[in-house]
Amino acid sequence: MKNLVAESDYLPLSSSYRVDGSPWTLKEKILLGLTARQYLRQLLRNPVNWLLLVLFAVGLPLLLQRYLVGLGSVTHASNDYPWGLFLGFGLFGMVPLSASGFLLGTTVSLFGRKDFHPIERLALLNGLLGYFFAVVYLLVDLGMPWRLTYPMVISFGPAAVLFLVAWHVATYLSVQVAEVLPSFFEWIGRSAWKIHIKRITLGLTIAGIILSTLHQGALGALFTYAPTKVHPLWLSSEFQWIHFFCSAIFGGLAMVIVSSTLIDRWIPWRCGHAFRANLQRMTLGLGKGASYAMITYLVIKLVAIAHDNEWEQLLGGWGLYYLLEVGIGVVAPMLLFATGVRNGEVGKVRIAAFLTVVGIVWNRLNTALVCFNYQMYAEIPHWKEVWLTITLYALYFVVYRWIVYRLPIVFEWKETAAPQT
């Protein structure tokens, strides 16, 4: 794609009209302004696509197996570990990394920090897709996925934490769709419709904050249903929801840094002027925010240990593992963030962000799987479960990339073709 863009002056497609004044058709927009042949050729040239192909070649049949033969055919069907990778990674891991939407929405729309505007749309998209795919993972994991809407329409258990999660994720998903719609409107050439969204932006943003606070926290609170099963170091019935909420803040920020870094590195042709010119500055800004959230998080973690008086727990094997997780997943990236921001070293901040993302996923997997039933045997997921989890993530990647290629997320849409910037 890079080469094609370099060759032809009308690429990349970033406006409703061509240079000669005639509109791009939808088909052309979908094909990125290439001919079908060109499009196919650039697809095949990309080694990443071959890797994806391999993943899907095995993963999609597995998915079919899961739906036709049952959940037990692709997992260990454990009654002791009712939640496996699909939820441990897909729900508990994806959702905090998708806090980016509400964080940047808040920063830009609520606090009026226009200087983060060029990355806002990416953060919103990252949020929307993360949540959407968390639901996809859920659909794979639920015993009766066709009843997904039951807690909304058929039968209510309002005292249950999951009830709250269900409602909030559903509502928040629609909020996020609304927030991403403007880019879509521009792309289909209906910029005028944006006005409807613009009017309610503030409302959407505040709704986003409330819903995010509650459901990010609720995901943590879900584990307080198992006070005797989760290792005490990973569970604090008082602070669990704050732990999850607070770590979602730096998790979300770090994920935007990672995502923007990848886009900047691998899809440079798609990046607009404002995005490229401001990316370094914004990365540092996000890193700064993340480091503040991290220090807060560490303090609350300490408070939780002190509150439950678990100091001696830190000495055992589990304690070591805990310290390892916090050290690699939080303390190290925090220091990197801090020094990187102070010295203006963007590279460091990006490494820190990557570590943070790994740290968040690690923490969630620990809570849901590794340190769950800590007095019992350890559950090693079935290879099919692992493969399916990766397949779904690959699907997420494909959709993410598809949208970033086309919709005005990291560039600005123009009504008429203007000379390349």
Binding site: P82, W83, G143, P145, F163, I210, T224, K229, Q240
Partner: protein, 310 residues
Amino acid sequence: MGEKTTRRTMLKSGVAAAIAALLSPRQSSGHQVKEYPDSMGVLVDLGRCVGCRSCEAACNAEQGLPEPEKPFNDMTVFEELEHGRQRRTDETRYTVVNRYEAPGREHPLFRKVQCNHCQEPACLTSCFVNAYTKTPEGAVIYNQDVCVGCRTCMIACPFYIPAFKYSSAFSPRIQKCVFCYDTRLKYGKPPACVEACPQEALVFGRRQDLIKVGRRRIEEHPDRYVDHIYGEYEAGGTSWLYLSPVPFAQIGFNTELPHAPILDSVKNFLGIVPMVLTIWPALFAGFHLLATRKETAAGEAVDHPEEEKR
């Protein structure tokens, strides 16, 4: 100006209230467990159980469960270990009897496992579609027509009882003991397992009476029982109660369960929900006004929005 001050003060008090609520100490314990005065129950006297597995067979027949690989008179099942653990309830069996060698005893002890029909069931409170019901008779029953299969109830049950029918793609469900509610309990009859027990190790009756029976047995034979009725308080109290000749920890019981219902540890979170719902909108709308009105000050004041969010 005056308007601004009021808003400020309002914000401040809002934040203060939020912080106070967060830091306030644990509510002076006194958890409330729902009372079911007419709740029935079963008293299991482990000293009397000989491990004949009649109850397993009776349950299997009563609930129409699939025939097991090994017949019910095959005692090699006691040696079966999965992941180093003895048998547990699953989609093919709602109750199992396991054998334990307690230190210093000539004969092994047997422990029957099934749903304990908690007074404040964790499975029930964690279910987001309310698939579980605690009936006045004491049974915790399950409605498969609304269950979504999220398996939170399995996470929540402190006794590892509910099992999921993983083997089914189109009609999976939770499977667990329902106290023979539909077929027996509803009509005042004891569950099938109790009726099948040749040793009278299982006694059916009103929970309150059973506690008295248990106490009396302990008093009359202090040499035969440890002074504890398991289930009287565990996890908020259960309808099934146990007497044991040896400390409960030696025969596979979890003796670290809190006496408060599981729900109590979730209440911390449930308590903040209304707070967030009411305070957040005003708080952040206020922030927005402050931040955008004084664009210049906004630069430093709200450098890190994350900080204010707690």
